[in-house]
């Protein structure tokens, strides 16, 4: 008879063997610099979700509580407003991350995420970050640092776009 406890212990003893998910996570730019041992811990916390084409991952304005990493499939990020209707902001590919702002501020989603094709996503949420902070603070610190870097890059990109728009508008007025 197989005992779950012994199975677990044996699995843990064999845990030095590289895991497919850990190997994949190692290639994700967002997780760059995270120690493989910590990646294994993060892999245990991730939630695997499968989405159909056209299925909404989250909607703009909904409460956000975490981020997703795309393993397979394409995800459209769309913004909706009363004036312009639906505006596609980006189409994300495997290995890319979205929704990470909600991991920090737990505020409403600033855009919707819709799967363009059948997709497999790995979710990482506020509870998982709390758990990581309690059990592997170094991994959590590295993850938060990467998150900060990602947001800084995005802010810089947004500033540049804003600057371009302002310049374009000034030229048009001139």
């Amino acid at each position: 008879m197989t005992s779950p406890l012994w199975t677990d212990l044996l699995a843990r003893l064999r845990s030095n063997q590289p895991d497919r998910l850990v190997e994949w996570l190692h290639k994700i730019p967002f997780l760059e610099g995270v120690h493989p041992r910590h990646l294994r811990q993060i892999a245990r916390l991730l939630h695997r979700r499968t989405f159909e084409p056209g299925e909404v991952v989250f909607r703009q304005g909904e409460t956000g509580s975490g981020m997703y990493i795309i393993q397979t499939g394409l995800v459209r990020i769309v913004s909706e407003d009363m004036v312009r209707g639906e505006v596609q902001l980006a189409v994300l590919e495997p290995g890319q991350v979205f929704g990470e702002m909600a991991l920090l501020d737990h505020a409403s989603r600033s855009a919707s995420a819709v799967c363009q094709t059948e997709s497999v996503l790995y979710g990482f949420f506020e509870g998982d970050l709390d758990q990581l902070e309690r059990t592997r603070p170094q991994a959590a610190a590295r993850l938060l640092r990467n998150l900060g870097l990602s947001l800084a890059v995005r802010l810089r990109h947004t500033n540049e776009r804003l600057h371009e728009v302002e310049e374009g508008s000034a030229r048009a007025n001139y």
């Binding site: 299925e55 909706e80 509870g127």
Partner: protein
């Protein structure tokens, strides 16, 4: 516009599904609560233990100690502590019970003198047969307390308690070692539309529950120690039992501090100690004030915000369902259920399901 998800193709169907889920959960919960209270007790006790010990387990996990080994080490320590306490406490408990039995006649006599007026009043109010029955019941209980293991049957009566303790420890071990995986497997079954909301709800409720339970345990422990020390200083007999009882009773808002103080004051009234009853009452009141203004805000923080009638009703219902343990658990459980419902409402609105 965003193309609706397959799961959102029939919003009415989703609502029916959600209602069916809620009804199923409520039905299973109600069935489990009413028909399997015996099973619920070790489950609840095991959960409480796992909440209390999870910071220790996480600290060991942080130091790279295997979670299963860490959990086993914690529970072995707890069992060793309980065994030591049992070996050390059993003679003390028996000695105190025998002392109480030896003095019980004197206490009853003293009590009857003090309460003669009340008894006359009761005789007028309650039919004499019921009063005699109550008196005989009280006398038989007092006699039994003097010799807990008079027969083999009495010893066998203790076995279910031992079974509950062992089962609680097993549940606690399972939850500490594998709780996260169980939670993850459960969450994996939730449809995408409700997944994030369920995860957030579970996380928030778990945080609130853990903070409240750990805080309340610390508060009860602090109260128990303070009251034991104070009663010992006032030379009140059975100070450890009275302190432990007052500490446990402290978990019940409003009624707890009063219920916790009654035995000590009653003992003073029946002449078990030379300390005047009013001095004991003042000391207990001072400890209660210290708890209200200093200990409780530091340990538990927020209040459960339950109206007094809910507390009274909850305690009455808890005592009917689960005796003393039910009384102790009822109010915290109602408070936590209230927190869960509020959090559920916020999440349903936040995720635009309501």
């Amino acid at each position: 516009m965003v193309r609706p998800a397959r799961t959102m193709a029939h919003p009415g169907g989703d609502k029916v599904l959600l209602t069916a889920w809620i009804l199923l959960v409520v039905a299973v919960g109600a069935f489990a609560a009413t028909s399997a209270w015996l099973l619920m007790t070790p489950l609840i006790a095991g959960y409480l233990l796992s909440v209390l010990f999870s910071p220790v387990c996480e600290a060991m996990d942080r130091r790279g100690i295997n979670r299963t080994f860490g959990t086993a080490a914690i529970l072995i320590t707890v069992i060793a502590f309980l065994a030591f306490a049992l070996v050390w406490a059993t003679p003390l408990v028996f000695a105190q019970i025998q002392e109480f039995q030896a003095n019980s006649e004197a206490y009853l006599h003293q009590a009857s003198l003090r309460l003669s007026g009340l008894l006359e009043f009761l005789q007028r109010l309650v039919p004499p047969r019921e009063l005699d029955q109550a008196r005989a019941f009280a006398a038989s209980r007092l006699k039994r307390q003097g010799s807990p293991f008079e027969s083999l049957q009495d010893l066998l009566d203790v076995l279910p308690l031992l079974e509950t303790v062992v089962l609680s420890l097993v549940v606690a071990f399972f939850l500490l070692a594998r709780g996260a995986e169980v939670r993850k497997s459960f969450l994996a079954m939730i449809p995408n539309r409700y997944f994030e909301m369920s995860l957030r709800l579970l996380h928030r409720v778990q945080l609130q529950t853990a903070a409240y339970l750990r805080g309340q345990a610390m508060d009860s422990l602090a109260n128990g120690i303070l009251i034991t020390a104070a009663l010992s200083a006032l030379q009140v007999p059975y100070a450890i039992f009275l302190g432990a009882f007052a500490g446990l009773a402290n978990a019940i808002p409003l009624l707890g501090p009063i219920a916790g103080g009654i035995p000590a004051i009653t003992l003073a009234l029946v002449g078990a100690t030379s300390t005047p009853w009013w001095l004991i009452a003042i000391v207990l009141l001072a400890i209660h004030m210290l708890d209200n203004f200093l200990i409780y805000p530091a340990t538990v923080g927020g209040s459960l915000h339950l109206p007094p009638w809910v507390v009274i009703l909850g305690v009455a219902l808890g005592s009917q369902l689960g005796g003393i343990l039910g009384m102790l658990l009822a109010v915290p459980l109602i408070g936590l259920a209230r927190g869960f419902i509020l959090e559920l409402h916020d999440n349903l609105k936040g995720f635009k399901i309501l």
